[in-house]
Symmetry: C2
Subunit: 355 residues, 2 copies
């Protein structure tokens, strides 16, 4: 059981029971409201319920999936919170993956101008990434996370036992952020990770701790993403565009699957613009294709993808903003790339050998 304090809130890593009970006892909430999706209601809520016996609590359940991380779902959550008479002395518990954490946190921090919330991330992706750092929001007008705000939870509870409830592709999606953390900040860990041949043999809890630490160190330095925190965007400028694009296609991608494509393309940009050695580009690309396969990108997709990138929140003054790798284990923020370079990177990805 580890406790790490970041900007006034604790991140508890380990079995949920003890720390959650202590947290609730230290506060005096009038009501609890659990936000879950249909999967976490069935698979994860039963582990939480015994801790809630002494409290008046209610659940708000939404359909699972990124396609429901939108304003209409927020309206439904807010309406159910209102019907359940949630007030400013209540606590929201977000039980689920990144969609539930981002959207539930956004709903909490805008309901009656702000209700306390805690994050209980149940996917690998949200355990190492989405639950840390106070970024909340929803997708809007086909642009990921374009409506939202920064607001810290009261606490985060990361229990690796929830990973047992996950399908394999969800674990693989979360793994992308672990890979990213190693690529931007920890060459040693990257050397270890790149040897992984198959996901079945991975001991996830042993990877979560170090990955969390990288993210926390960065977020502590720069909570509002004014500088250093942009390091975490490696793979995400192109990855977000791919994810938004795929969201409306017959073959939607999970976040990490899209970021894996983005990391290949942005590693290419890194080699072209920052001199990332060709050998490292090759190692990164081949490793990511081995784990994630080859997404069927086509040239007619390039224009809509560029349009999506132009609307990215990370841009400044109309330039598309990237965080790129001079070398594995280090990162340079505020790089810009011309549309022609970006197209080249998509072509590079397209031309890689499939599996």
């Amino acid at each position: 059981m580890d406790i790490i304090t970041i900007n006034e809130y604790d991140i508890n890593l380990g079995p949920l029971g003890g720390p959650m009970s202590r947290f609730l006892k230290s506060k005096a909430y009038s009501r609890l409201c659990i936000i879950a999706d249909e999967n976490t209601e069935a698979l994860c809520l039963p582990r939480l319920e015994p801790l809630l016996e002494a409290y008046e609590w209610t659940t708000v359940v939404v359909p699972p999936g990124e396609q429901h991380k939108k304003l209409e779902t927020c309206a439904s959550i807010w309406k159910q919170m209102m019907d359940a008479r949630i007030d400013r002395q209540s606590l929201l518990i977000n039980l689920g993956g990144g969609v539930i954490g981002d959207m539930g946190g956004f709903c909490a921090s805008t309901f009656k101008r702000g209700v306390d919330f805690v994050q209980v991330p149940t996917t690998l992706l949200s355990q190492v990434d989405a639950s840390i750092g106070g970024k909340l929001g929803i997708d809007f007008a086909q642009v990921k996370n374009s409506i939202g705000l920064f607001c810290d939870p009261q606490a985060v509870f990361i229990d690796p036992a929830f990973l047992d409830t996950l399908p394999r592709e969800e674990l693989r999606s979360g793994f992308a952020e672990i890979i990213k953390h190693s690529l931007i900040a920890d060459e040693e860990q990257w050397r270890t990770i790149r040897k992984i041949e198959a996901l079945d043999a991975v001991d996830w809890p042993s990877l979560i701790g170090p990955s969390l630490s990288i993210k926390q160190d960065i977020v502590k330095e720069d909570p509002l993403e004014q500088g250093l925190r942009k390091a975490l965007n490696f793979g995400h400028t192109i990855g977000h565009a791919i994810e938004s694009f795929a969201l409306n296609s017959a073959e939607p991608l999970l976040h990490g699957e899209a970021v894996a494509v983005g990391m290949v393309c942005e590693a290419f940009l890194s080699s072209r613009l920052l001199g990332l050695p060709a050998e490292d580009l090759e190692t990164i690309s081949h490793f990511l294709l081995r784990i994630y396969g080859h997404y069927p990108l086509e040239e007619r997709h390039f224009d809509p993808l560029l349009q999506l990138m132009k609307n990215d929140k990370k841009n400044e003054g109309g330039k598309i903003n990237f965080s790129l790798l001079p070398a594995p284990g280090s990162v340079k923020v505020n790089c810009t790339a011309e549309p022609s370079h970006i197209e080249d990177s998509l072509l590079y990805y397209k031309g890689l050998p499939g599996r």
Copy 2:
């Protein structure tokens, strides 16, 4: 020209030109976006335009009125901001009354997780009340301001010249907050105000300064409404319910008109629960009826009004929360009243002689 600094932002009282130009020059915004309604676009924007010549700017125009302060209008504003390529280096200028300030500020502070905004309030109500204090939001599920957050603007520009553009009932609505400020904090000002026989003779700029000061003093002490700031809620628990109720009736009320009804009812509660002298109750009631007339409240409205009060953000642990007057010029927060008392106060209002 007065400048008052509150929690890191300036409130500029006086002609708009100089301070707005100095503010814009002190920053380096990539684009400006003016949020206006159809009225302020026609009547107020022409005064702002000369100051914007050196900038790339765009307007987002929404229909006027409280009935448009809702999620659907936010979606339209966000979409237009996105189409105009507003980014985190842009500035939003909210040009209008409380609806534009509250909703435009909410849209700004949630767009791409937060874009800077300034308030240029154009109504008396927003000049003395809504533009100060960082409360942002929209109405939802028939409950006023139930979705929103606290976020400070970069600056506020209060130019009494805009009051010339207002119809008489808008001035009268704003006057209610000036009356409230005197009743909760300045008995001297209340003695002056209560002598006002008709609105035509009032010198508004002379009332704005003192009224702003009362609000600022309170907000500075308690920005997140955890205690003292609740003083400003006098008249608003019942007033908000009346306003929400009237919003869906054939005869909607302006905010101040509803608060005037609320202040009469809550002065009655003050006399019943805190011993406000009968003579003061009578003076307050008669003055408010002289200025605002008699709203046709009916007994069949009482139940829906109580339901609306039970959903008020200000409640804690299921109790309906009031700020009441022990005497004119002083206020007690966190009072609660039983439904039967609240019904008596509505009956008292209903039984007052009409004009």
